[in-house]
């Protein structure tokens, strides 16, 4: 059953702040009480910049943080939309639709959590980590892979809360030299003697990473919730543009499409038909 975003609303909202925190990555805050009250980890918002028709469509961004009535996003400048966004200043108006999507399902407090983030995928798990650190009695680990150490997002908000953070950089300048997959390989031995029912994993990152993580998880028979991306037009279920392929209900060789915006963006990794997804 698609989740209808009952709390969702579309509104013109002023930007509170918008800072480049590491090169090419920005953190933007806006005051949005209803959104702040309703947003759950793993949900997202659609942002558009009125009144221009170019870009015409809104852009999806994960809810990065909620702080009182403020909602924050973390975004990488990659194209025209994020380019315009990065030029916005305090007081400028944005159209914000959300919160959208299903969000992560929070596990029982006694469950050990492994959270995997690749690059800007960190934006989608930060709010989750804050919730986990508040709720879980079992330990929570963040495996965080980036291309260059310069991209590492400062994590004051997560410090001193008992989170185990392990970092991998492809340039080897910080943490382990390698990717999140390498971190996973060295982390799993410590957890794999736990019954898989007592571990929950969460991941967001580039497709190649998710594909590899899915493979590992499957091998271990471990549950994994993945936050997926796809090109979106509407973000709330009307355009059918954002589907990705899943294994059919009856015949797993048959493909069925599910909408990332309303049926996701969080899906069980093992249900996704990885072979049918183009890089």
């Amino acid at each position: 059953m698609p989740l209808t975003p009952r709390n969702a609303h579309a509104a013109l909202i002023p930007v509170l702040s918008n800072r480049e925190i590491v090169p090419g990555i920005f953190r933007m805050a806006f005051e949005a009480p209803r959104l702040a009250a309703g947003a759950k980890p793993g949900q997202f918002v659609m942002l558009s910049i009125p009144p221009t028709h170019d870009p015409l469509l809104p852009r999806p961004f994960a809810v990065f943080n909620v702080d009182g009535q403020r909602v924050e996003i973390l975004y990488r400048r990659v194209g025209k939309g994020t380019g315009l966004l990065s030029g916005m200043r305090t007081g400028d108006l944005l159209r914000v639709l959300g919160p959208l999507g299903n969000g992560f399902a929070l596990p029982d407090p006694s469950v050990t959590s492994i959270v995997l983030a690749g690059g800007i995928g960190f934006a989608s798990v930060h709010f989750l980590l804050l919730k986990l650190l508040k709720r879980q009695t079992a330990p929570t680990t963040l495996l965080y892979g980036v291309r260059s150490h310069e991209e590492i997002i400062p994590m004051e908000s997560l410090d001193k809360k008992g989170l185990l953070i392990r970092v991998a950089t492809e340039d080897g300048q910080q943490g382990v030299k390698g990717t999140v997959i390498d971190l996973l390989s060295t982390t799993l031995p410590r957890t794999e003697n736990l019954p898989t029912a007592t571990i929950e994993s969460f991941a967001c990152g580039p497709l190649a990473m998710l594909r590899a993580v899915a493979g590992r998880m499957k091998g271990l028979g471990m549950r994994a919730q993945f936050s997926m991306e796809s090109r979106m037009a509407c973000g709330y279920g009307v355009c059918q543009g954002c589907v990705i392929p899943f294994k059919g209900d009856d015949d797993p060789k048959q493909i069925k499409y599910r909408k990332v915006c309303t049926e996701g963006p969080v899906f069980a990794a093992e249900e996704i038909c990885w072979d049918a997804i183009q890089e």
């Binding site: 469509l57 796809s230 279920g237 543009g241």
Partner: protein
């Protein structure tokens, strides 16, 4: 000031406002209920319904272009049976006219859709999609061949008393001819335009942005083409024309009415704002107020073509 009259009549249906949703851009309508009351709409045109459920095309299905977007959804829908059983009863809770957009891969399929659905009270009328460029075997031939179009309309006309609105494809040399054929076949109204066939390539990977290569262009980019076709057709047929293509604002809707449309549909705009229909409707009402127009029908076809002072 007396209350402005915004009612119009299309194909025997009385609409409380000329603003409707465009097929395929608002799902089954229910997706919009968190954002506004469907009863405010002139009419709800649901996404294209086929005899059997359709899974749609493989992704990627959409890509943005300058002032527009391409889609190749492939007419994904739940099929007639599920629509009648699950969706229709829920739509009947709203006081709005429900127009079912239908698509078939043969005349017989269209016929069965009309036969079956004509029996259900919640279906107030049909919009026949003869033009979707996304399905190879499907509507494309009906929408670009004048003879086949007339034959199809005649065939459907014999099967239903309910309003029959034909949605035309813009991908033709002579839109007026197509419109006249649909009228001759017995159509009660015309919707124009459907999307324009287009494509886009990712220069980095040299791959088309859409899995189907070609898709349908919609959005403000196509508004001038839609408006031109509405104007050309409205002068040449007696049945009402519903204008659609790139409407984002009340003023955009007003342009279509001035060009001769009796009603308008809002499509792609919903992807920017789920309440786009309402925004268009309210914008249109403000326009009417500002210009002291008491009856929206006074706008229809009211284009000013006084001979320009230069011969």
């Amino acid at each position: 000031m007396t209350k402005i009259d915004t009612t119009v009549s299309i194909a025997g249906l009385s609409l409380k406002t000329p603003v409707m949703t465009a097929s395929g851009t608002c799902g089954y309508g229910l997706e919009l209920t968190p954002y506004f009351d469907l009863s405010r709409l002139g009419a709800l045109v649901v996404k294209g319904i086929s005899l059997e459920p359709r899974p749609g095309n493989p992704p990627p299905r959409i890509v943005e272009t300058s002032g527009g977007m391409l889609n190749a959804i492939g007419l994904e829908n739940i099929g007639m049976e599920a629509f009648i059983a699950e969706t229709l009863p829920r739509l009947r809770e709203y006081e709005t006219v429900v127009i079912v957009n239908i698509l078939g891969e043969s005349q017989e399929e269209y016929g069965t859709l009309v036969d079956e659905m004509s029996r259900h009270e919640g279906v107030d009328g049909f919009e026949v999609n003869v033009s979707c460029p996304n399905v190879r075997k499907g509507g494309i031939a009906f929408g670009s061949d004048p003879e086949m179009l007339e034959k199809l309309v005649r065939f459907l006309r014999e099967r239903t008393e309910k309003p029959l609105i034909i949605k035309l494809s813009p991908n033709v040399t002579d839109i007026v001819d197509m419109a006249k054929r649909a009228e001759a076949g017995g159509a009660d109204g015309l919707t124009l335009i459907n999307t324009i066939r287009g494509m886009s390539i990712d220069s980095e990977s040299r791959r088309p942005h859409l899995a189907t290569v070609v898709g349908g262009l919609s959005g403000p980019a196509i508004k001038p083409v839609a408006l031109r076709m509405v104007w050309e057709v409205a002068q040449q047929v007696k049945i009402p024309v519903v204008g659609v293509g790139g409407i984002l604002s009340g003023e955009d809707a007003v342009e279509f009415l001035i060009a001769g449309a009796t009603a308008v549909q809002v499509g792609t705009a919903h992807f920017r704002n789920p309440a786009a229909c309402i925004e268009v409707m309210e914008g249109m009402e403000r326009y009417l107020e500002r210009h002291a127009i008491q009856d929206v029908r006074d706008l229809i076809g009211s284009i000013q073509l006084d001979p320009s002072p230069v011969a």
